[in-house]
Symmetry: C2
Subunit: 581 residues, 2 copies
């Protein structure tokens, strides 16, 4: 069944095989992926489509001397199987031995950690230039998906590569899908290139100065080997455009390319039962459905990553022309939203925290400086059990420190809905809403007429706890434990607005409080707690900040996060007791 | 001499003129610019090239009902002259009544504040979509320069516009120059389009799905009027590619397009004498010349904006293939530098602080997460008398809060050169060096063997002043005044590394200090001082932070900055006296 795969310890073993055996090896790998990924979770569709190309690349090129760079790198599973890490895909219990993306800490065959899109050509071009400067000789190959082409950084890299004019082989993996269906004018050109077997009059890559080859059978290992052999050791930049099938070989994945892009691990019946009955993705969808019906000025914007923010195909279809997928273009999406707002529409840009990092300058210039009343809903912000490439812990840094942006962190569902309603309808300023992770019902006495202020949930004395978003639960439990152990009635405050302070509230605490505790699910550096510490810097108030360290963490279970960062009632109470001496 | 211009109060007056008169008006405007800009300073070349096009746009289109969006907007002077602001260009004493870029606070004809590149199409597309959603009817025109086309955001906007498929007229102003000569593969295609009068086989814009028109005589107002009339009220996206001459009509500007891109105001002989004899641009160049000669692995990278960082044409030429202009592509440039570093070269990316905002995600992912030992030299960080669009006050936010990046702020020239040398040669980590504004000679006893630690300049007691970079001068003067007025011998510390703390030093201060003062030329939110405040949050130490407010400021003289932010020895000492009660 896996007669070849079991013999493969490194690409050198691949290079010993016959072409016929490469075909069999590819089938074995595909079988393994179809078996394992639905169990472990992971990027199913992208990997099934790129099996043959990976086998052919390692067969033709002399890796690791020749350098192979994966854009996004979510299509690297076959590469990992061929480079000493196959057990992750053969034995589900080993899946977590490795990250889901390329990682130089794992293997000399991996050049970079990657996870966001469109950077692969730039990284590869850097390697190629370094090779030339150092007087070395080897091939540099960048693997770029058609989805990534919509991101401007890919254009920047290709455009620059054309003038640097050295050996750089861009394997352009075209399966006519991004995470969702492609969106962008260039995709019509790609369709035409596929339709004409690469001979269309207009050719995007050639306009940039690239040499160009086309391979219609992108899942035929023989055709790929032939094509790659032709460009090996080439002395100028070339695109090898290969037409592949996303989800290839798995009927369900082929028919459901969006759902099969990334699958979640199979869960046990017990944990499925424990799963939340309602998510913020659903809540947001339900709210927006009504809002879109009631207000024809509302426009929903997403940058090519709809699944994480709950924009299902059905919902997108229901929006008609008032849903815009801008492609994987966070820079453009924010500027576009600014334009929509200036033009009198009511844009709602829905984005994952990790991807919003691409828009920092646009947050500053197009939103903050221009005071454009767009609404940005940031999902996935906080501590999640996820690859470091996709961490959403820097969102407060890049929103709360920008002049002119109002940043809101609701704690409860009622607060979230009030803020959303207020934000979409106001016309004064850009608003970022940090969508909470967990749904908390109730409103804690929140006043919907004052959605951007702070909310004092309970007035106590001596110790005040300021919470951002969902951390109100931790604040409550900490307060309970404080009372139980030390008889302290702590004050609880929801800092619903984390871009500006309720100074009257903070000043008031000076009269009957000694310690202010801040809680935020994000890195502390540049975050909310530090601002509170500065505010009280001249006063006797002690400020103790809880949040994340400035570090990258891979797939750390949330519980462990909490222990590491003293993000538990027990830790906090012990810390405060120690502080009180 | 200015018979038409003196009658123009708004574009409605332009629309009353004959075609012949438009030609005369254009000449009058050009004369005014050639006379005034060298006195006031400003973007000379870009504006001289775009006189006729601006006149033709306001003649053909019904502004402000039709919406005109300028990418970058440094080419908007004629637009300002036609929309009620001509006095700024006719009477130099009025120049500072208006900003150097479009600004809705100044005029209803200005849609956005802009100053960075490549966002214009995105903003215009937002307006166009809003128009359609709101059921309005008017033209939306985006003015995009050829330099801006290298920025990926322009690609993202064009690519998205093609599929939205509504009225959007992109006037592509092609003068075959960016700030410096263009760099990128697409420019060869533009040359071919110019050579063939727009009929070349390959056409970048058509590959994205744009309709396309070409106007060879981009400084002929009649030809432009005819071309714009053809596309007025068009029902789909179209590029009108116009070939203009940068610096048109001013022989010096035509012959020196890079020098004439932006000219500095004429200075009086006295202030010229008071100007510093040496700049960090010169120091860096001199250092790099030697370094490049001594070490063949060093590669200098710049993203299409060489002048601000001192990369003169002569120096660039002297670097040969070891200087790379990536185009106006800060995202790609950082990823490219990461690739260079991973490949074993020694990249030095030189960039203005304001433009580095485009690279936040790449700082996080391609540098921090990948630990790539690239060196980034950040110029223009701090408080400068400059338009808000170009402020460099957010650099600490976007570097010091990112895991894995070592951030250095030298105070003196000796420290800067030591750090540069250390950073380029080390192979462990990405390093950002915040290039100081003013040259301070001497080394204050700095130990070059320990370039990334903190430096205690003087040990005192009671009050400690932590300074970042050039603020050591303010620290010294404050210490002198403190001694004079209050007899306090303050401790002085250069926090040369602002991404991590010298914890032993900070802990040591707890024994004999009551107050720590932090000084940074940047906004306080998310900055250095806040981290110090958090560090001491649990202790009795009082922390007082000096720096900028979270706000946008336009052309505020540095002295005024200092007064507003209590950034003077007198203010600080008075504040500390008040704190001591």
């Amino acid at each position: 069944m896996s007669k070849h795969l079991e013999t493969i310890e490194s690409p050198a073993d691949v290079r010993r095989l016959s072409l016929d055996s490469l075909v069999e090896l590819s089938d074995e790998i595909r079988d393994a992926l179809i078996t394992s990924v639905p169990i472990t979770g992971g990027h199913l569709g992208p990997n099934l489509g790129f099996v043959e190309a990976t086998v052919a690349l390692h067969y033709v090129f002399n890796t690791p001397s020749d350098k192979l760079v994966f854009d996004v790198s979510h299509q690297c599973y076959t590469h990992k199987m061929l480079t000493g890490r196959k057990r992750a895909y053969l034995k589900p219990q080993h899946y977590n031995c490795f990250t889901g993306f390329t990682n130089p800490d794992e293997s000399e065959y991996d050049l970079f950690r990657a996870g966001h899109t469109s950077q692969g050509v730039s990284l590869a071009l850097g390697l190629a230039k370094a090779r030339d400067v150092l007087g070395q000789r080897h091939n540099v190959i960048a693997v770029l998906g058609d989805g990534s082409l919509s991101g401007g950084e890919a254009f920047e890299g290709l455009d620059n590569a054309a003038v640097i004019g050295t050996n750089l082989i861009v394997v352009f993996n075209d399966n006519d899908m991004s995470i969702a269906p492609n969106s962008g004018g260039v995709y019509e050109n790609l369709r035409e290139l596929r339709r004409t077997n690469g001979a269309a009059r207009e050719n995007f890559f050639r306009t940039l100065g690239f040499d160009y080859r086309y391979v219609e059978e992108g899942n035929d290992v023989r055709a790929l080997v032939a094509a790659f052999e032709q460009v090996r050791d080439i002395d100028h930049p070339v695109v090898v455009h290969i037409h592949t099938r996303k989800g290839k070989g798995c009927a369900w994945a082929e028919e459901n390319p969006e759902a099969a892009h990334m699958v979640h691990p199979k869960v046990s019946p017990e944990s499925a039962q424990a799963a939340p009955t309602e998510t913020y993705q659903e809540i947001t969808r339900a709210y927006l459905s009504k809002k879109l019906a009631a207000d024809s000025d509302v426009v929903i914007v997403n940058a090519g990553a709809p699944s994480g923010v709950g924009l299902t195909p059905e919902f997108r279809a229901s929006c008609g022309s008032r849903f815009v997928d801008t492609g994987i273009t966070e820079q453009h999406a924010v500027a576009f939203a600014s334009g929509l707002a200036r033009g009198g529409a009511k844009p709602v840009f829905m984005v994952m925290a990790t991807f919003l990092q691409r828009s920092f300058d646009q947050l500053v210039q197009e939103l903050g400086l221009n005071r454009s009343p767009a609404t940005i809903l940031v999902f996935g912000a906080g501590f999640y059990d996820i690859d470091a490439t996709h961490a959403g812990t820097l969102d407060i840094v890049m929103t709360a420190n920008v002049p002119g942006i109002t940043c809101l962190a609701p704690a409860t569902k009622a607060e979230y809905l009030s803020m959303l309603d207020w934000s979409i309808d106001q016309t004064e300023r850009p608003v970022v809403i940090r969508v909470p992770e967990r749904v908390i019902e109730g409103d804690d006495g929140f006043d919907p007429a004052r959605p951007v202020g702070w909310h004092m949930v309970r007035k106590g004395s001596r110790i005040a706890i300021l919470s951002i978003g969902n951390t109100i639960e931790l604040a409550r439990h900490t307060a309970e434990l404080l009372y139980e152990r030390d008889g302290v009635q702590a004050t609880l405050v929801e800092a619903l607005n984390y871009s500006s302070f309720d100074e009257r509230l903070l000043d008031g605490l000076l009269y009957d409080h000694d310690v202010v505790v801040t809680l935020e699910a994000g890195i502390l550096c540049g975050g909310f707690g530090e601002k509170v510490a500065r505010y009280y810097g001249k006063t006797p108030m002690r400020v103790v900040c809880y949040g994340g360290k400035k570090e990258f963490l891979d797939r750390v279970p949330t519980d462990e996060f909490f222990r590491m960062y003293h993000f538990t009632p027990g830790d906090i109470v012990r810390d405060l007791e120690a502080l009180a001496g």
